[in-house]
């Protein structure tokens, strides 16, 4: 985060030379603006249109200094779109498809490269991001599928860099999901095309036309593992993980047994994480989601259930969880988040139907424990005392 701990530039008194230098800069800037505006609105005498590489580079200079000048970004869009048209080629001789493709690719790539240092300098400027997305989308519609895919994949590299510098950047993760979506769509289209070519007997001799993996879910899932391994408090990583699990399991074609195993693995990992730091909200939230998704008496997701545990399996899972949470509570008796989660687990338990196998667990005992946990919560979190009291009454 650029704002934390970094000394802001102090408003020092400027020397006369500095003021002079600034005035020169301002003058140069204003000249540049006039130049660009002249390109946008050519006078009647100018018969040539102004959507040219020259005007592109003029807008570059201006936008480098002032990326917030939105209208100029729009002007640039028009220039780019114009330059992509087949008739805009300067040479009268017909270029073959490959050359045209390369020209387009080089234009769009250079646009992306132009944006990169700007993004480093102005990472939060929406106009730059919007323009970048525009270029990528334009690539999808103007280039061959394979070429466009390459661009999107390299965009993934950019996002990886961004997230490694600031792993909790909410926007970064959102952008990542957007890129993944686009890559998957393109890959799907490419595969469709390949299949079609195979069916129609087209495609080169000897080329297998293998289908590339369409879904990035598995890869993205592994990425969330890496990211929380680097920073347990990475809420976005946990959040993304929760979103990916249903897809991953269905893509693996996981049986109910396999899902159960997967769940146990996740719960075990969460036990370690919660033990490592029960005061961390992100960890507790993910654990909360896991338990809700798997052990709730009601169905929580609108699509097919992820884990399909039986009633007694749910009870068993919850009581196992309560067991280790109780032990942890011995170590951290005042941990508010832990107490809240334990009450949640207890309430999930109580929501489930009783079974015959329920010998070891005394529901009364859980109820008593929840009472005492709520008492403790009132002590530890008095600001929400009303809520805890209410819950006590409801027990």
């Amino acid at each position: 985060m650029a704002s934390h701990g970094v000394p802001r530039s102090s408003t020092t008194v400027r020397t006369p030379q500095a003021i002079q230098a600034d005035l020169l800069k301002i003058e140069a800037y204003n000249n540049l603006v006039s130049e660009v505006q002249a390109l946008r609105f050519p006078s009647v005498q100018k018969s040539k249109h102004t959507y040219s590489p020259t005007s592109l580079s003029t807008t570059s200079s201006l936008l480098t200094q002032n990326p917030e000048f939105n209208t100029i970004w729009n002007f640039r869009r028009r220039i780019v779109l114009h330059l992509l048209l087949p008739t805009s080629s300067s040479s009268p001789t017909l270029k073959d498809d490959n050359d045209q493709e390369n020209d387009k690719l080089s234009l769009l790539s250079s646009e992306l490269n132009f944006l990169f240092p700007l993004l480093q300098k102005f990472p939060k400027c929406y106009w730059i991001w919007n323009y970048r997305v525009f270029i990528l989308q334009t690539a999808s519609t103007n280039l061959s599928l394979q070429t466009a895919l390459k661009l999107w994949k390299s965009e993934m590299g950019l996002v990886n860099k961004m997230l490694s510098r600031d792993s909790r950047n909410f926007h970064g993760w959102g952008y990542r999901r957007y890129i993944v979506q686009n890559i998957e769509t393109l890959q799907k289209d490419i595969n469709k095309e390949t299949t079609k070519e195979k069916e129609e007997g087209e495609g080169e001799e000897g080329v297998d036309g293998e289908e590339e993996e369409e879904s990035l879910a598995e890869q993205e899932f592994a990425y969330t593992t890496t990211m929380y391994g680097k920073d347990l408090s990475n809420f976005s990583a946990w959040h993304n993980r929760s979103k990916l699990i249903p897809r991953v399991l269905s893509e693996r074609g996981a049986t109910i047994e396999e899902r159960r195993t997967f769940l146990d693995g996740e719960l075990g990992e969460m036990q370690t994480a919660v033990y490592t730091d029960p005061y961390d909200q992100s960890i507790q939230l993910y654990n909360h989601w896991l338990l809700l998704e798997s052990c709730s008496s009601k169905q929580t997701t609108s699509t097919s259930p992820v884990f399909s545990l039986t009633n007694s399996q749910k009870l068993e899972t919850l009581s196992r969880t309560l067991e280790w949470m109780r032990e942890l509570l011995d170590e951290e008796p005042d941990c508010r988040l832990l107490l809240e989660e334990m009450i949640f687990v207890g309430s999930l338990f109580r929501d489930l139907d009783e079974t015959e196998e329920e010998e070891d667990v005394d529901r009364e005992e859980i109820k008593r424990d929840m009472q005492s946990w709520l008492e403790k919560l009132m002590e530890v979190d008095p600001m929400r005392g009303g809520r805890w009291r209410e819950m006590q009454e409801k027990l």
Binding site: A21, G229, L232, A273, Y275, T276, D277, P278, W324
Partner: protein
């Protein structure tokens, strides 16, 4: 244990073979006498150690006229960096008062993998670690001197476990919750208490240690073994290694350990994730000294003279003038100094350590409270790549390996005290590519010490380089070692000033460059200048943008 003050041994003994350290052309002609004698200096500083150089730069930038001398033909004193030949010559003629029993040893090695030419080495006597939170760094940055320096990352911090042959002998010391989370050898409950102990020492979770605990006389080990923690010994050892203190965990005062550990965690993440310390390229301390001295010279207010020193100090009158904030120039006679070169100069202030000033200073006597340490520099023929691996750029050029007590055996005895091995890669410019430097330090015991160093290095080379695929695929070898004994005080003896003569306390470099050097320097600066404001600040106006030139 009380050693004789060795200031009388400062004269260079003449030998027939030319000493590579002495430059015969640097004799002083009549022209120079005139030069030094012209002004009444604001300060004459004897010795170009780190504090002295910092002081010179600060004074020069504050507009004071400084004459900066050094007995040696090189800069840096205890932080000097020497080529191989220079180092060998140094071992035969050691002038630093705190150093004893110096041994220079070369080792037989297979053809072609030996020492390279002397000049390709720049070796200092200590690793010169700088915590990122160190006031020295922030001072260098504030004064723009960091641009003349290149700082390299000290990456891994490890505990060495030679006893487990199958697994990795280097165990990374956990810095973060994530390190502990990912440690498969700890059960969940242990992870909890380790994180809790970590947070309590850093002060970010639960209760601080508080003064009651820190002044209770408990050792770090006792504290961490308490029922509320019950940390496994491997974790206690890991935390001990973060202190850079040479005591056994059971003898490590809690307060001091906590302070050091806090410093470590406070330094994490300041210039990048995962590391808490840096070193400057080209033998850390030495480079800092040279940059500071040049900064002083560049102001036009400081003159540098090597192979010279003060042999006599005569203060004006029988009574020392009271210390004034601003000296009255018209009546000022100044202190009269006789230099080794025969020059006589006058100055308002004199600064130096006892070994550089012709006075006997009781503070510099090595007292019975002093602790002896064995220290050693090893040059080995392996790049030890494994140690310098990092997940994130930049690459590491330094690493620390803590060797616990009882790890290394020699002649049936194992080391009573732990050892620190600070490793520098060739990226530091201190040795040729393909080699590395190891700085080892260990508290002295009655049963000796230095004999463990060879065994330790051999063990490290054995266990760490067997995985390296090289042309010959053999473990690295020891090429050279320089071993010596030093005497350090836990608390530096007080500085003192009598009138205008300011005595710096003896400084014995250990593993890190201590923060206290800044305070010691500023103390004297304040006595000379009158305040601490704008210490080391650049006073010259910025140069205007130079005109560009097109050609070709």
């Amino acid at each position: 244990m009380c050693w004789v003050d060795v200031t009388s041994l400062l004269d260079t003994t003449t030998t027939n073979t030319p000493n590579p350290l002495v430059d015969p052309s640097r004799s002083f002609s009549a022209m120079n006498i005139e030069a030094l004698d012209q002004t009444v200096w604001d300060a004459v500083i004897a010795g170009t150690g780190l504090r002295e150089s910092l002081l010179a730069a600060a004074l020069a930038r504050a507009g004071k006229k400084v004459l900066h001398l050094d007995q040696n033909p090189y800069y840096g004193e205890e932080y000097a960096a020497l080529s191989l030949d220079e180092l060998e010559a140094w071992t035969q003629n050691v002038k630093l008062s705190h150093i004893r029993s110096v041994q220079y040893k070369t080792y037989p090695v297979p053809e072609g993998s030996g020492l390279k030419k002397s000049r390709s080495y720049t070796l200092s006597l200590s690793p010169g670690l700088l915590y990122t939170a160190s006031p020295i760094l922030s001072l260098l940055i504030k004064s723009n001197l960091h641009e003349s320096l290149e700082f390299l990352k000290v990456g891994g911090w490890f505990v060495y476990d030679a006893a487990t042959p199958l697994s990795d002998p280097l165990k990374r010391v956990p810095n973060t919750r994530e390190d502990i989370f990912n440690d498969k050898t700890l059960d969940p409950r242990t992870k909890r208490v380790v994180v809790r102990a970590l947070k309590s020492m850093v002060g970010s979770e639960g209760v601080n240690l508080g003064t009651a605990a820190t002044s209770s006389g408990l050792s770090l080990q006792q504290y961490l073994e308490q029922p509320s923690f019950r940390l496994p010994s491997s974790i206690i050892v890991a935390f001990t290694s973060l202190t850079l203190l040479h005591n056994l965990p059971s003898e490590l005062p809690l307060g001091e350990a906590e302070e050091r550990i806090k410093k470590h965690f406070d330094s994490l993440g300041r210039f990048g994730a995962g590391f808490s310390a840096v070193i400057s390229r080209y033998a850390s301390g030495s480079e800092l000294v040279q940059v500071l001295c040049r900064a002083a010279a560049v102001t036009g207010n400081a003159i540098y003279v090597l192979e010279n020193g003060i042999v006599d100090i005569q203060e004006p009158g029988s009574v020392s003038p009271p210390i004034q904030a601003l000296p009255n120039e018209s009546t000022e006679q100044g202190i009269r100094l006789s230099l080794k070169s025969g020059d006589v100069v006058r100055t308002r202030h004199v600064v130096g350590t006892a070994s550089n000033l012709p006075i006997t200073a009781p503070a510099d006597q090595i007292s019975s409270e002093s602790t002896g340490y064995w220290m050693s520099i090893y040059v080995v023929s392996s790049p030890l790549k494994q140690i310098f691996q990092t997940d994130e750029p930049p690459p590491a050029a330094g690493a620390i390996i803590y060797v616990p007590a009882g790890s290394i055996e020699v002649n049936g005895y194992s080391n009573t005290n732990p050892m620190y091995v600070v490793v520098h890669s060739s990226d530091t410019g201190e040795c040729p590519d393909g080699q590395s430097i190891l700085y080892i330090s260990m508290k002295e015991t009655s049963s000796g010490g230095a004999e463990f160093f060879d065994a330790t290095v051999k063990s490290l080379l054995q266990n760490l380089t067997s995985q390296e695929s090289g042309a010959d695929n053999t473990a690295g070898h020891i090429l050279l070692s320089v071993t010596f004994k030093t005497c350090a005080d836990l608390e530096p003896p007080d500085q003192s000033s009598s009138g205008r003569v300011h005595l710096l306390s003896r400084h014995v470099p250990m593993i890190e460059i201590p923060d206290s050097l800044v305070e010691q320097t500023m103390e004297i600066y304040e006595k000379i200048v009158g305040s601490r404001d704008a210490f080391l600040e650049k006073t010259a106006p910025q140069e205007p943008e130079p005109p560009g030139e097109k050609s070709g």
